[in-house]
């Protein structure tokens, strides 16, 4: 049995990243800088740490992801590989899903490496249900990646694409960023129930993943 198209694209992206490590290295370096600089700048107490950790983590993930997403389609643009993909009978949505999954795994790997360092630098002791972080962080990350991959594809033919991506992405990502920050803060402090924010993230992800998949074919074949 032949694997689905999106798995073919995903396997190709993983193989290329395994060889070059371009995306993971740049993201890890950037996220580490954010985490270390903020921990040195604030020198927070344990209680303050729990309040500010959520926003700092989200900012670190957001900026690190944008640095990688800006390059998400660079390999396809180089040597016109995208034209070869456009000429193939494989559906555009599969190319998009493969790319989103690959970017999600790259950012997820960075988050996994970052998590223990984050706990050490910010002296974190979670007061809420720690397992809920396993829902809130991936859902928030998916929101960045799905929109970022779509808008990176939309802006690839633009001369100022590296500037254009954050300009389009950040306002659209704002509701998900709010949900992610509040969900993580609620889990870390244990002050409130994060369920509402997790549901908001889930709804946001479903809506934007569907819209992006439906519109990607148009973006892919735009001149």
């Amino acid at each position: 049995m032949k694997p689905p198209y999106f798995l073919i694209h995903l396997a190709k992206d993983l193989r290329i990243e395994w060889r070059s490590r371009d995306a993971v290295n740049s993201m890890l370096f950037f996220a580490l800088l954010v985490v270390v600089i903020f921990s040195l700048a604030f020198d927070p107490t344990r209680a303050v740490s729990r309040q500010i950790s959520g926003p700092i983590l989200c900012v670190a993930i957001l900026f690190a992801a944008v640095s990688a997403l800006n390059q998400a389609w660079a390999r396809e643009l180089r040597h016109q590989v995208l034209d070869a993909q456009r000429m193939s009978p494989a559906p555009g949505a599969a190319l998009f899903v493969g790319k989103v999954l690959a970017n999600f795994l790259f950012v997820g790997a960075v988050e996994l490496l970052l998590a223990p360092l984050f706990a050490i630098f910010y002296n974190l002791h979670v007061l809420g249900n720690v397992w809920l972080l396993l829902l809130a962080v991936p859902l928030g990350t998916w929101a960045i990646i799905v929109n970022g991959t779509f808008f990176a594809a939309l802006s690839i033919r633009s001369r100022n694409r590296e500037l254009l991506l954050p300009l389009i992405l950040f306002p659209i990502f704002m509701p998900a960023l709010l949900g992610m920050v509040l969900a993580i803060s609620a889990i870390l402090t244990g002050d409130s129930d994060p369920a509402l924010w997790i549901k908001l993230l889930l709804g946001y992800d479903v809506i934007f993943t569907t819209i992006s998949m439906l519109l990607f074919e148009i973006v892919l074949h735009a001149e």
């Binding site: 032949k2 390999r75 040597h79 590989v81 034209d83 070869a84 009978p89």
Partner: protein, 219 residues
């Protein structure tokens, strides 16, 4: 002979720049057409329009009987002057990847496609480390994979040494004898002339001349 491509008054305009100006052409099955012209004459644009990668601003185009070239994409092999390959993957990895995207078509074996263009299929080096000529040949192997009926080749002889160019010509002769339609662009007229059934010269986006030739290469 069956018509493969029909262009009727096709124009392509970018802002104020007219890349193609009322081009009318008819390409028949099993023939090799060589597109000549100076830089900026519109050769690459014409190939991209036929491939369905660009939509004409005016005029109509029929490829394999359909007015939407995108519906005939599976039957078209397009080779750009860029290699259209991933630098980080080897030649056979690139070809395996592209072959897996053409699952409904009987694809050539990637190793056989590489051998057909005279490349060693066991090369494990990434394409980024290939010479320009090797990349060009790997790119042609990618085009051959899906066994297209119409081949659109943009500058296939560029960056090739004499021996590789000869090998490419032999391959084109073989493909034509298999009833494939070939449209190629080149600046090296003397190289392509022996395989050409028809020489088309573009000038400033228009067809300046169309010359039927007596093909010298063995069919």
């Amino acid at each position: 002979m069956a018509s493969v491509v029909d262009l009727e008054s096709v124009s392509k305009i970018y802002g104020m720049f007219v890349a193609l100006r009322k081009v009318s052409l008819n390409l028949e099955q099993g023939r090799c057409y060589v597109l000549l012209g100076e830089n900026g004459a519109g050769k690459s644009t014409l190939l991209r329009v036929i491939a369905g990668l660009l939509r004409p601003t005016y005029g109509s185009i029929r490829v394999f009987g359909t007015e939407k070239p995108e519906d005939a994409r599976e039957r078209i092999g397009y080779m750009s002057h860029a290699p259209m390959l991933y630098d980080e993957l080897s030649g056979s990895e690139n070809l395996r990847y592209f072959a897996s995207l053409y699952r409904e078509r009987a694809c050539m074996d990637p190793e056989a496609a590489l051998s057909a263009v005279g490349l060693d299929a066991t090369l494990t080096r990434p394409v980024g480390q290939y010479s320009q000529g090797m990349r060009q040949r790997t790119s042609l192997a990618r085009v051959l994979l899906a066994q297209p009926e119409l081949l659109l080749l943009d500058e296939p002889f560029s960056n090739m040494d004499a021996a590789s160019a000869k090998q490419m010509l032999d391959l084109l002769v073989r493909l034509r004898s298999e009833r494939k339609t070939i449209l190629l662009t080149t600046h090296q007229r003397e190289l392509a002339e022996p395989v050409a059934d028809c020489l088309i010269t573009l000038h400033a986006g228009s067809v300046a001349s169309l010359t039927e030739t007596t093909v010298r290469a063995t069919r």
